[in-house]
């Protein structure tokens, strides 16, 4: 039993570390250092810098321009990215729709879509959830009816993250009402500029527009945008879900956040309460650290299995639940650490052009909005309750 990296892996780690220290686009680097919000353009610049390095398709097979990285290399990359506080990679194109296209798409679709995804030239969003299909996703009602060379799409998708930035959306749509409800679902790619597509903002508890409702009214979608076979969309989406998703637990970024908190506890910035002598608070810090350490080793166990060619064991099923629980525990610690400076609502202080009130400690006014917003993580990607249903059924065989 060991957690040592090999010589090659250590060299790779150094290379990745150097990239994050020296090769990030300057405007991204500056915003990270000043604790400012990353814009759409910054995001694209960051992902294009990764692409220039050949590192955009971390999960992709080499034949489509991917890195061909081992599970351990992906782990190292995620760790270094989190330590450098780099932006997360927006997953919808690079890690969600691309695997479906290169696994189930036809040759023409691969050539048409994959290069632009890899180069972050096209922004994708996800059209799965609907107002009446959340946890019971297979109950979705957005309908695609065949009309000659087109599908006519009608319906509503919701919780569409960054849909207002997107050029394309990949959707699960209903193409049939007969048989099992899962068997009537197809996987369709839709140009967001098509007539009949409208995007309405949904404002979340942090006062920001992150998610949207997307409406389709008689939208004409060419049949060549159907991926794979009609009626197989559910299967493709499930393959995607069980497709190896590294970093689902967010261990590296949670570690980074806890580390920064511990540093501030030792030397509190002006305005932050002295909490290190508060044993009630410190007990929560320690228990969070312990849970996170356990989770880190759970992730390493999964990694060890995958990298020796075995299927991940049942421990992999807990990554999402425990990972998001730990994230929210940390959110609460930060809220406490902000003291009364959690109260001011001054989002403009995290904008580059912000010229309003500046509150110190700088991190404090963002903790409450982040805490509110981040209640989402135990809800999205299959609620943690759904995850427990899966453990009960698939692991415990109840």
């Amino acid at each position: 039993m060991n957690i040592d990296l090999t010589g090659d892996e250590l060299a790779f780690r150094d290379e990745v570390r150097a990239f994050f220290q020296n090769e990030l686009p300057p405007q991204v680097m500056e915003k990270i250092q000043r604790g400012l919000r990353i814009s759409r353009d910054d995001q694209i610049a960051y992902q294009q810098a990764l692409h220039a390095k050949g590192w955009a398709g971390a999960n992709w097979p080499v034949e489509y321009g991917g890195t061909g990285w081992s599970a351990t290399q992906k782990y190292i990359f995620n760790n270094e990215a989190a330590t450098a506080q780099a932006p997360r990679i927006i997953p919808f194109g690079l890690t969600m729709v691309a695997p479906v296209i290169y696994t189930f798409g036809n040759e023409e679709q691969k050539q048409r879509f994959l290069p632009d995804i890899l180069a972050s030239k096209v922004w994708w969003c996800q059209g799965y959830s609907e107002p009446n299909a959340g946890s019971d996703l297979a109950g979705l009602k957005t309908r695609a009816v065949r009309d000659g060379d087109h599908y006519i799409v009608n319906g509503t998708k919701t919780w569409t993250t960054l849909g207002h930035y997107a050029d394309w959306i990949f959707c699960l749509v209903r193409t049939s009402d007969t048989g099992k409800k899962q068997e009537g679902i197809s996987f369709l790619l839709i140009d967001m500029n098509s007539p009949g597509v409208s995007v309405t903002p949904i404002i979340t508890l942090d006062g920001r527009r992150e998610v949207n409702e997307v409406n389709f009214e008689d939208v004409r979608v060419p049949v060549e945008n159907l991926v794979g076979e009609e009626g197989k969309g559910w299967t493709y989406a499930k393959v995607l879900l069980t497709h190896e998703r590294t970093n689902i637990a967010g261990v590296a970024s949670s570690k980074q956040r806890l580390k920064r908190l511990r540093e501030m506890l030792s030397e509190p910035p002006l305005g932050m309460p002295n909490l290190i002598d508060n044993s009630v608070f410190m007990a929560r810090v320690m228990e969070t650290e312990i849970e996170l350490k356990a989770l880190e080793f759970t992730e390493l166990r999964v990694l060890s299995a995958v990298s020796t060619g075995k299927a991940p064991g049942p421990e992999s099923s807990i990554l999402k639940i425990k990972g998001t629980e730990v994230q929210q525990m940390i959110d609460e610690l930060y809220l406490e650490a902000s003291g009364h400076y959690a109260l001011p609502f001054v989002p403009e202080q995290y904008e580059e052009e912000g010229d309003g009130i500046v509150i110190e400690p700088h991190f404090a006014p963002n903790t409450a909005p982040h805490y509110y917003n981040n209640r989402k993580v135990t809800i999205f990607g299959g609620t943690n309750e759904i995850q427990k249903n899966i453990i009960a059924k698939a692991v415990l065989e109840l």
């Binding site: 007990a283 080793f297 049942p314 109840l398």
Partner: protein, 376 residues
């Protein structure tokens, strides 16, 4: 990076699992705990034959030179069987202390006998006032022309009633709380001046209160300098005990899941009820997280240094919290049967509960971690 079992570990796991399946069913174990001795001498001989008593000791003394990660594989299986033979007190505590702190001749003589199954040990460390503190020792050893004599009260000494030799921590200089001035002694418990009040423990083991009244003792290793050896041994012991805890918890989870599949109420197996499914999913997650923490603890404690004690405390906190949840919910989901003496589940619950009180409880270790953070 690798968490797979190596060949030796696989062999250990197989032989221990086979022993428990063939020779250590729950009723057999119950008879042993109710016997006068409290365990089986035959089993002890078998442990020697299987090499389990030799596992962590240097090859120079006839040991197998096994690592801490080898030891946790065996300990997990012993946990699954609720094994009550004094392996922990003899091998994990006593033998480890001799290997760490004994002189060359003490190591070779005593470890050889231990490995052959001819020497059982107990570590008399804790005192009524000190619980899990290493340095809060009042028991003292006086040196005279005839050697050392020990006087003091040692509390809850596990394995003492069956021990051939006691390893006793005593103060040879300094004051309560000092790291310097702690020494280890070998004491024959059969000699005059040793008063032993033996009792069974709640979880099927045997322990004793021991009073020494100017009792002849042999110094183990060097005088005044036993602190490091004691601390390192207790860190190893936390890892080993936590491994046993993982075995106990996984057994509790499995028993509960199987019970809920067959127990029917309202016309269906109770395992079909979502509220119970989620409870068992929680138990499952705690088992896995504790196993992960165990691996972290084993690797870090084996690495030594300051990190070792920190990691041992983190591990003990996790075992305490997770063990409580898994134990209590296993009893809850078994309904009335969970609190009956007849069923094995209650006995696994007893053991996991007592494990929290050993070597410092969850709350004690949590406080240690907090104090260290505050002092940093």
């Amino acid at each position: 990076m690798d968490f797979a079992l190596n060949d030796i570990q696989q062999m250990l796991q197989d032989s221990a699992a086979k022993f428990i399946q063939n020779d250590y069913d729950f009723e057999t174990r119950r008879r042993l705990t109710e016997s006068e001795l409290g365990y089986s001498e035959e089993n002890w001989k078998l442990f020697a034959e299987l090499g389990w008593l030799a596992l962590p000791f240097d090859e120079a003394y006839g040991g197998l030179g096994g690592s801490l990660t080898d030891l946790i594989v065996l300990q997990t299986e012993l946990g699954r069987g609720l094994v009550v033979e004094p392996y922990f007190s003899t091998v994990v505590l006593g033998g480890n202390l001799i290997q760490r702190h004994g002189s060359e001749s003490q190591q070779s003589e005593l470890l050889e006998r231990l490995i052959a199954g001819e020497l059982k040990l107990a570590f008399a460390q804790a005192e009524p006032q000190c619980h899990s503190s290493i340095t809060d020792i009042e028991t003292s050893a006086e040196r005279s022309e005839e050697g050392y004599h020990i006087t003091g009260h040692k509390a809850v000494v596990l394995g003492a009633p069956s021990a051939d030799l006691l390893v006793v921590a005593a103060r040879t200089s300094g004051n309560r709380g000092d790291q310097n001035g702690l020494s280890l002694f070998l004491v024959d418990p059969a000699q005059p001046g040793v008063t032993m009040q033996a009792y069974p423990t709640n979880d099927g083991f045997r322990g004793a209160e021991i009073r020494f009244d100017s009792v002849k003792a042999t110094l183990l290793g060097e005088v005044d300098s036993a602190y490091d050896a004691i601390q390192a041994t207790l860190n190893d012991a936390i890892v080993a005990l936590s491994a046993e805890a993982v075995g106990v918890m996984e057994k509790l989870l499995n028993a509960t899941v199987e019970f809920c599949k067959v127990r029917k109420q309202f016309g269906q197996p109770i395992g079909k009820f979502q509220v119970l499914q989620h409870r068992m999913a929680d138990m499952f997650m705690e088992c896995e997280q504790t196993r992960s923490m165990l691996y972290f603890g084993a690797i870090t404690v084996a690495g030594g240094g300051e990190e070792a004690s920190h990691a041992a405390s983190m591990l003990k906190v996790k075992v305490g919290s997770a063990g409580r949840l898994v134990g209590q919910q296993a009893v809850q989901l078994h309904g009335g049967m969970g609190v009956s003496d007849e069923l094995d589940v209650g006995h696994f619950f007893k053991r996991i509960t007592m494990i929290n009180t050993l070597l410092g409880s969850r709350d004690e270790h949590l406080q240690r971690l907090i104090r260290n953070a505050q002092a940093a």
